[in-house]
């Protein structure tokens, strides 16, 4: 266990510091570090304390949520390719928000609850479409169903945006994932939702890890697979819904983080979850810092970076011998 936790902690610490030190604007690392140490000029103080700290905190929350959600979803679906973005969970959340705004609500009044419901619907649809039964399920079925669903929801979102200009303006923020410009207020709103998700994920970790043996074996060991899965879905919905409400849909984090965690500590779900708590924020922070630095003075949206990192990881998972059907 030590093998995984310490390096992850170290990486997280470095990532947090980097997030505070670097930015797209004028405040360079030296001035930023001065602020952290207690001094620094006014501009630097503003940049670090008013902009970067909140952004870092939001990124940590989002990374944590998506990393955990990915691990839980993969256990519930028994599929290392199950990722909230790929499966349409994030798309479901965005779509729900877009529909609500188009139906008349203003962007400000839409809270995370809508996103959570949308995420839950997306998750249930994807899992339902794949018709999970015992072991020997075709893992690709789920992935294709999820891709179809996510494509469907994106298309639906585009259609609504096309027909409703007002919504399009208000909703731009929800359709492209980014932690830029997010403040502590957002964090305050989604905090409780995320916390609930983390708690449920923790409670359901042991039953879910037994699912890896197949439903019948798990049942003969005294677990209740259906209930474990349902709780898993609830956790995923809360975590992803909250994350989309805070930062829009960010894909692939839920794929990359559990993949790295499993490489560090093996397949046991509880260990993986612990490491995801640390690696999730680290990955998102690293991606966010990259988004600030790659095209200075502009910023690349976070979703683009995570997709660019995630695609090779997807390829790596596919090419690893662990998926015999491939």
């Amino acid at each position: 266990m030590r093998r995984g936790v310490l390096p992850s902690l170290a990486v997280l610490a470095v990532a947090v510091l980097a997030s505070l030190a670097f930015g797209a604007g004028d405040v360079g690392p030296l001035r930023a570090v001065a602020v952290v140490l207690g001094g620094g000029d006014d501009d630097a103080r503003f940049a670090v304390l008013e902009l970067r700290v909140p952004r870092t905190l939001v990124a940590v929350a989002v990374g944590l949520a998506l990393g955990l959600a990915g691990a839980v979803l993969q256990a519930a679906a028994r599929n290392p390719l199950a990722e909230p973005g790929l499966l349409g969970v994030s798309a479901g959340a965005s779509f729900a928000v877009v529909i609500t705004i188009a139906a008349g609500a203003s962007a400000a009044s839409v809270g995370p609850a809508v996103a959570v419901l949308g995420a839950a619907a997306g998750c249930l649809l994807a899992l339902g479409a794949a018709r999970l039964r015992g072991t020997g399920d075709d893992p690709i079925r789920l992935v294709l169903a999820g891709a179809a669903l996510s494509g469907l929801l994106s298309a639906g979102t585009s259609v609504v945006l096309l027909l409703d200009q007002r919504t399009a303006d208000e909703v731009r923020f929800w359709t492209v994932g980014s932690v830029a410009g997010r403040d502590l207020g957002t964090l305050g709103e989604v905090g409780p939702v995320l916390a609930a998700g983390v708690v449920i994920a923790w409670l359901v970790a042991r039953p879910l890890s037994a699912l890896a043996l197949g439903d019948s074996t798990a049942r003969s060991l005294g677990h209740r697979p259906a209930r474990a899965r349902a709780l898993g879905v609830a956790a995923v919905a809360l975590l992803v819904g909250g994350s989309v409400a805070a930062a829009g849909p960010i894909a692939f984090v839920g794929l990359v983080v559990p993949f790295l965690a499993r490489a560090l500590v093996g397949p046991d779900l509880r260990r993986v979850l612990t490491v995801c708590l640390l690696l999730g924020p680290a990955v998102v922070l690293v991606a966010d810092v990259a988004s600030r630095l790659l095209v200075r003075p502009y910023e690349m949206p976070l979703g683009v970076i995570t997709a660019l990192i995630g695609a090779p990881v997807l390829v790596a998972v596919v090419r690893s011998s662990r998926m015999p059907a491939l």
Binding site: L144, S158, G303
Partner: protein
């Protein structure tokens, strides 16, 4: 050892097929598939006639087909040939190509959800086309770049996947990743582009039959002329791939070659279609479904899927032009709106995803 057999034994075709033979050569045609294709063909002709008739100036349906060939009142002929026929022809070709691509990929993967949309072809084409409009200035038309984009996405996918994999699965999943990355790039470009350029690039994100480059259409027609017979042959071989790999190799089929060929033809037809009309989602999904329901599970209905694809695109275009007149909804929007719920229904109600 060949058994000695009377040379005059009849060649009774297997039940459900017709045998067409001449001088030592013979071809088997599945009865139900042939009938389905005929019915679909007739439907396509009908919808073509109706499509040519409807518009800001209404023509009688009976006049449209002759007008398309040049007979009738000059005014009608002009209207039909110059304005509407190109659009309708484009629709038929695009739909046909997407239908072929869809049926090939679905049969290969034995999964109805395996379509060129899922594999990143659309995303690749869109990314390159959008890039040519908003980001990079080149002298090549967006259509050409769309084709390059689709080909690049496919090549990238095939290269990263290291081959087709069983049932083409590796190709499909890696295609998802590549598609996502390219989609992200498109989002980036659109977000940073000035509003005019973004609006100009918009049709390339959604699929439309409006004012398409004639060169792209011509290229599509040529490609389809070659691809259709090849696809029919591949369809026969794909039927055999439904058996276990070891059996099929024992029967003398070069399995890996067939898989690559299927993916190749699917990519080329879809790529040409996207270059001509932009990313038209869901056609490649729905058309083979329709064809399969009509033709039955025994054959791989390549011709039927092509015709069904043409039908879907034409109907969607017709709907888009009439439902919100005088506003014109792009075909891509209509297929998304109508196809979407159908896809959802498909996802939730079918018991197995296997194609028999």
């Amino acid at each position: 050892m060949t058994a000695t057999r009377p040379a005059t034994a009849p060649a009774t075709p297997p039940p459900g097929t017709w045998r067409v033979a001449a001088g030592g050569r013979s071809v088997l045609v599945d009865r139900r598939a042939a009938l389905a294709a005929t019915v679909l063909g007739v439907l396509v002709l009908l919808v073509v006639a109706v499509s040519l008739a409807i518009g800001t100036a209404r023509l009688s349906v009976l006049d449209t087909l002759p007008a398309a060939f040049g007979t009738g009142e000059t005014r009608d002929v002009l209207l039909v040939q110059k304005l509407r026929l190109p659009r309708v022809v484009a629709g038929v070709l695009v739909g046909g190509a997407l239908g072929i691509s869809g049926v090939l990929l679905q049969t290969l993967a034995r999964n109805r959800l395996a379509t060129p949309d899922t594999v990143g072809l659309n995303d690749g084409a869109t990314a390159f086309a959008v890039a040519s409009i908003v980001a990079v200035s080149t002298s090549l038309a967006p259509s050409a770049l769309a084709l390059v984009g689709a080909a690049t996405a496919a090549a990238l996918t095939l290269g990263l996947a290291g081959g087709a994999g069983q049932r083409g699965y590796r190709f499909l999943v890696v295609g998802l990743g590549v598609g996502a990355a390219l989609g992200a790039l498109t989002q980036l470009m659109l977000a940073r582009a000035p509003i005019d350029a973004a609006n100009q690039a918009f049709p390339w994100t959604v699929g439309s039959l409006n004012a398409r480059a004639p060169l792209a259409i011509a290229l599509l027609a040529a490609g389809l002329a070659v691809a259709l017979p090849v696809a029919v042959v591949l369809g026969r071989q794909l039927r055999m791939l439904r058996l276990a790999d070891a059996v099929v190799v024992g029967l003398g089929l070069r399995v890996a070659r067939v898989r690559i060929a299927v993916i190749g033809v699917a990519v080329v037809t879809a790529g040409l279609a996207i270059a001509a009309a932009g990313p038209l989602g869901l056609v490649a999904l729905i058309a083979p479904e329709m064809a399969r329901k009509a033709a039955g599970p025994r054959s791989v209905a390549v011709v039927g899927s092509a015709l069904a694809g043409a039908l879907v695109v034409l109907l969607a275009d017709l709907l888009g032009r009439t439902v919100a007149a005088p506003l014109e909804l792009p075909v891509g929007i209509v297929t998304a709106v109508v196809g979407g719920p159908y896809l959802l229904w498909l996802l939730l109600t079918t018991r197995t995803r296997r194609i028999p």
